[in-house]
Symmetry: D3
Subunit: 135 residues, 6 copies
Amino acid sequence: MFKPLVKRLLPHAHVSAHCDLPCGVYDPAQARIEAESVKAVCEKYQANEDPEFRTRAMLIKEQRSHLVKEHLWVLWTDYFKPPHFEAYPELHTLINEATKLAGAAGTKGAADPEVADKLLAKIDEIAKIFWETKK
Amino acid sequence: MFKPLVKRLLPHAHVSAHCDLPCGVYDPAQARIEAESVKAVCEKYQANEDPEFRTRAMLIKEQRSHLVKEHLWVLWTDYFKPPHFEAYPELHTLINEATKLAGAAGTKGAADPEVADKLLAKIDEIAKIFWETKK
Amino acid sequence: MFKPLVKRLLPHAHVSAHCDLPCGVYDPAQARIEAESVKAVCEKYQANEDPEFRTRAMLIKEQRSHLVKEHLWVLWTDYFKPPHFEAYPELHTLINEATKLAGAAGTKGAADPEVADKLLAKIDEIAKIFWETKK
Amino acid sequence: MFKPLVKRLLPHAHVSAHCDLPCGVYDPAQARIEAESVKAVCEKYQANEDPEFRTRAMLIKEQRSHLVKEHLWVLWTDYFKPPHFEAYPELHTLINEATKLAGAAGTKGAADPEVADKLLAKIDEIAKIFWETKK
Amino acid sequence: MFKPLVKRLLPHAHVSAHCDLPCGVYDPAQARIEAESVKAVCEKYQANEDPEFRTRAMLIKEQRSHLVKEHLWVLWTDYFKPPHFEAYPELHTLINEATKLAGAAGTKGAADPEVADKLLAKIDEIAKIFWETKK
Amino acid sequence: MFKPLVKRLLPHAHVSAHCDLPCGVYDPAQARIEAESVKAVCEKYQANEDPEFRTRAMLIKEQRSHLVKEHLWVLWTDYFKPPHFEAYPELHTLINEATKLAGAAGTKGAADPEVADKLLAKIDEIAKIFWETKK
């Protein structure tokens, strides 16, 4: 999955995509950056028992987890098309599970770096498919 | 599909759902109300050639269409669970199509009441399944 | 108050209203759904002493209470007109009290299902007037 | 003009108010600043026929008008209390009219500096009462 | 205290500025009002050990601190121009420090009225320069 | 500048940064992705004279340009520290110019791909410094 990301940085590479004009610029990196942030917040939460810090961490984790969901929803609705869902029959379930992992049953509900790791792994699976479809 | 909605208004009826605590309160009516608004905006757009009015209509239609997407995404990720997707194999596709109908290829891209009607019909199909699962 | 809500579901019924084109689609159900969510969050808060859960509950209750206020403000400013305020002299006070019940002196300030019930009762009073004016 | 700002910074000066803790800091200046912006946008709109500029102006005017509504709603619900409404029986109507003047029937619906002036005048009437109640 | 507000409303008074049309209406008072709110929240936090209240205070302080940052960023990018930065070589650093004082190293990270006072003092330094450039 | 981006994708690489806990995850790619979107929107705008499409393009360009500003402001305030500003004396000016290029005098004000290219070039200059400071 690293290769396509590297390729994206080369001239003429397809660089991400997200707005609903649509601009045609989509990139799973947007979801991944937020999920990396969620994981870092979980780690800092576990390492710091100050109640003020923990309240802030919970609040920020909630927001960043939600951004993960939004970026994934945009890929699901705006980037992926029927031929993609035919070529990758697991794609609906994969994205659905990833968004659930960023919700109450995942990183919103738990300040647990391992849950964040599961979310990151799912995002990487989606990114792998994404970059295959961009070839 | 009307019956479940009526039932929802009775004492102890299950009333909608949406936040990610989760509170357990979900309701496809939220998406439908925004889609009704989108349709009304399309109709008013077609009936009024004033450029200021039309700019405002486009802007509001964009926002309301996005709210439709968000409400449907919440149902897809937060309300529907694996057993639902097994019982209704068409559910992923149905919701995906509905969200696309509220996007650039649907009511965001066109100020067309007929497109809004297609969106409303899809939402009603989702609502029908939703209320069956609540029984 | 149930009847008008039922009526809304029939063909050609007036379905809600809210955007400021205006689209003409207004519905007190939007405020009620959020208030139902607030009540559910209060109940879950009282039943769960886990500090992480409680922080999340407070955060979500704050957001949902604010949505109640916003939906009611829209009815007060955008839907209700001078003849309504003349016909229902208590309407200003009623909506003002309802919005206060969703604020610091109400469901924002307290994780108390009984306060949420008072908010729901006020919304129902407003809905009753709303649907009378739609006849 | 620097002086009034400095004066407002003196100890015991009542400086604005708005969050729903509540922090106790309210100030009608927040609504006025946005309304001044709305008026300036209307004037620039009338003086510039470039369609791109006009689209941007409409969009910004919509947002800023909405901020006026929000700041006034906060005063109505969060700052003003029953004794204020008794002492100023016109207060409900006054604020309701002001918020309508920032909506579809006012500065949202028209790019007209005179409409913005009416909105500003209403805000000044509210501010006058506000500061009387702070004495 | 009514007087300064009235004076600010006089013809030719420079009243604030902020939107990116640009409307030309800017005012450091916007940042200051939010910072006053932050300080009041810090004081209320220190005076109240109720955990629900404190969670709400943390949440609101986070939001209001962020608004301070946004208002200052707008001044830095949209109002101040190269000649201002030449005339006031400390201006970049001053605004950078002020925004940091509203962030994790400042009022977001600490519920401390003294930190809020430092933020207010920085905003006043910026305001002083701002009003000099408006002469 | 490509090398650090590539490095970021390796195990244990520093991946982006942005929330204000702070989580410590920052990445200029966030600003770049939005700016790429802005450029694509400008190109589509120039290639399509349909007024509905153009209104939507203007609206989306406004939002995406604003996101560029926000991502850059976060780097300026939250990531860069005094030693960075000492080591790179041009950094304040560079970021200030980049944010201006995403505002009214840049991509907000003009639907011009060349202006978007200038913005992208500035972001790349900032990214170069950013990745040097991460070594």
